[in-house]
Point group: C2
Chain length 454, copies 2
């Protein structure tokens, strides 16, 4: 099938699914789980082939060992947790059909704003083949059709996973073409032009991938960009909280987008809390890229930290705009809360930033003035996560500023439409409303409704 | 100032405004109203100059009379209603600071999702100079900075309006650069590249304007596209409702985007309701572009409608994808509700579509299966409007499928951020949570809160 045929088939499948009750979508998820279980041996055999090919790439120096390990679908409980994930998504509340505004505009004229799927999603991701199954489950649960493109290194696995999903769907009320996959970059390039069929692009991968897609499509992009998160130690920071929060934000999962990359320190802490924080970080083998005041504060410690020479160096300007993604932390000193806000707003990626302080006033200012998706008080940046926020699962984290921001759950895959019903015996027309004599006026009486009653 | 300096100044002004309470934004609106009143003579004099220049353009055949009339700021009560509009916006509920999700993730760890402004808006519109004031009021009320570009034919007027707004702002807590205007297309072209400063583009104008902007920026675009709305007369339509709703949808304001452009008729009505509807439309001087069944039904009427020859002709395929914007209506026959749904979903612009029916089942199917921002039962398409929906005012109507859909009120100019606070005596870290022995589990207890308590 050509890209255009695939996109058109997705749009048709989406249209056909509009009258299918959400209970059928949940049943379809169970059927897909069973079909995957049935094709398990075949899929894992294909996965072994992908791994063999990837091993050659690693040996030739063209692929990293960590990428290779993410390809492996039979490692640990990966297969089982992939299947369990389908059931977890199935059991989440239905994000569609929820009324968020209801008003009686006039006697017998009712308006309802009700959540509904967006349409056709194009999801582009890298490496981990189980993402096909995760995204398929999220799309089906939220009533969206989806076209998926995984990394080329997992093509054998993803095409079989996709095949099992289609085989499963063929046994259900949900259209078979609801979930489709494509394999090549050329197909993606063609799909990005088809805004008459595709409604939202979700790239899950590097900043370059996201930016490249944004530059080459007029379809809206929900970007899950990298994270340059910071922790600010305020003049009124508590030492124990400072140490615990900075260390956790850095070492709990250094390659995650919600790990801290920059530590911003009020200058009054240079001889007090900063040495304690630095020593705790150095004990965890974190490398520190320090500005002159924080560097000299460490150099004048007695005794000197044992790994000072190997793990501490002077920072460069570029370090503060870098997502290290490893046990590396940029450190900067500021003279005031105001300076901290300016530093964070101009250097962070507007993902998640945290303040450590005992001052309610500083905390309140920080939360409002820091222009990021998450602003935290005395808590690790690592809490920025859909599961931790209580969404059950997440589509990704958005640093965009419309539609959805921060960890995006199923709610990020729906929009709304307005349904209106006249029960008047002559129907409702606008010409009867207005300012003149005998004209009607809008009543706008709020209706208390959780679902549309018609 | 260069485009980059303007965009940067807007972002800085936005940043500076984050700690200003919303009451100050409301005060700023009143100050702007007073300043406009003070500069009234000067502004209206500039408007006379714009009108003189436009008159020459009309005489040279380069501008329409209707565009000219929309430029005129002293016609009727336009000036007064422009100023009243500022107060109307000022009195709407504050769209910011509203909590839409609140959860206690753990003892003493609270999460709040709270609405906040988007950032810097770039609004591009045509002709009517008072839009500068409308948009400035909406932006200030919702806490967004804005850069505005009007039509070149109103440059003298809009630059003075903008000047009065800045002069007004300079007397308030809201930064002076909160609202800026640019005059040229070149400046707009440069601004569309500055996604580091500008967060949302709102084009208010022709489909070509919207598409051109979508093709030339990676900034999200909230498109207020044209409307190809339809009315479907179902097999179980009532005659009086059919006549009233079709006529109102067409003639109440033919150039509006929510006017009907296509009439879809169930074939069982060809000899009954269709002639009644057609005669009512012809009495209102509506031209009918008919498919063969509806055409021949009219030609076999006795007596023939008096303006049959002048006002009725056979339709072409292109007519069904055209926004007539005048007293012209395309008409098509379908054999079933299913065919009507297919026709509407493939021909409408997904703005607003209405069904006339006495069948609850058909009505319910129509509302769910028609993939448009508004799906109405026995009501005119002209009800699709922010004021009529009860939003007080509207930013425009979006036919996009993310962020905001249909008439967009102030709610469409906000997004949200997540604020989190730990009250624990040691702060909160992620490393304490997990599956192992002694690990904490998330509690996710819902909090009932309308505003953030810190």
């Amino acid at each position: 099938m050509s890209s255009e045929e695939i996109a058109k088939a997705a749009k048709i499948a989406f249209g056909e699914s509009q009258l299918i009750p959400s209970t059928e979508r949940v049943k379809a998820l169970e059927t897909i789980r069973q079909q995957l279980e049935r094709q398990k041996d075949e899929i894992l055999a294909a996965n072994v082939e992908d791994l063999k090919a990837a091993r050659l790439e690693v040996e030739a120096g063209r692929m990293s060992e960590s990428l290779l390990s993410r390809l492996d679908l039979s490692r640990g409980d990966k297969w089982d947790s992939m299947l369990q994930g389908i059931l977890d998504v199935a059991s989440l509340p239905d994000p569609t059909g929820v009324v968020s505004y209801a008003s009686e505009l006039d006697d017998d004229l009712e308006l309802y704003r009700v959540s509904c799927p967006i349409g056709v999603l194009l999801v582009i991701f890298e490496a981990r083949p189980e993402v096909v199954v995760n995204i398929a489950a999220l799309a089906i649960k939220s009533g969206n059709a989806a076209i998926l493109k995984g990394g080329k290194e997992s093509n054998r696995t993803t095409s079989l996973l996709s095949n099992a999903i289609s085989t499963g769907l063929a046994q259900t009320a949900v259209p078979e073409k609801y979930i489709q996959t494509v394999q090549t970059r050329d197909e993606v390039a063609s799909l990005l032009k088809l805004d008459q069929y595709i409604d939202l692009v979700i790239p899950r991968g590097s900043k370059d991938l996201v930016r490249n897609i944004q530059n080459n499509t007029r379809i809206p992009v929900m970007g899950h960009a990298d994270g340059i998160c910071s922790v600010y130690l305020d003049q009124q920071a508590d030492e124990e909280k400072s140490v615990r929060i900075v260390v956790d934000s850095k070492i709990n999962y250094p390659s995650a987008c919600n790990a801290v990359e920059a530590l911003v320190i009020h200058e009054s802490l240079l001889q007090t809390i900063w040495p304690a924080v630095a020593q705790a970080l150095l004990r965890e083998n974190v490398r520190l890229l320090c500005d002159p005041p924080t560097l000299s504060a460490l150099q004048s410690l007695s005794p000197l930290p044992p790994n000072l020479d190997s793990h501490v160096r002077a920072s460069t300007a570029g370090d503060y705009g870098t997502e290290h993604g490893s046990l590396v932390l940029s450190v900067v000193t500021v003279p005031s809360l105001q300076s901290a806000l300016q530093f964070i707003n101009s250097h962070s990626s507007h993902h998640t930033d945290s303040i450590v302080t005992e001052s309610d006033e500083a905390a309140s200012i920080f939360c409002r003035a820091v222009d990021s998706a998450g602003t935290f008080i005395n808590a690790s940046t690592r809490f920025a996560d859909g599961f931790r926020y209580g969404f059950g699962t997440e589509v990704g984290i958005s640093t965009g500023r419309i539609h959805a921001r921060g960890p995006v759950g199923l709610e990020g895959l729906v929009i709304y439409k307005y349904m209106m019903k006249s029960k008047d015996k002559k129907g409702h027309i606008v010409g009867e409303f207005g300012m003149g004599v005998g004209k009607k006026h809008f009543k706008h009486r709020s209706i208390n409704a959780k679902a549309v009653p018609f």
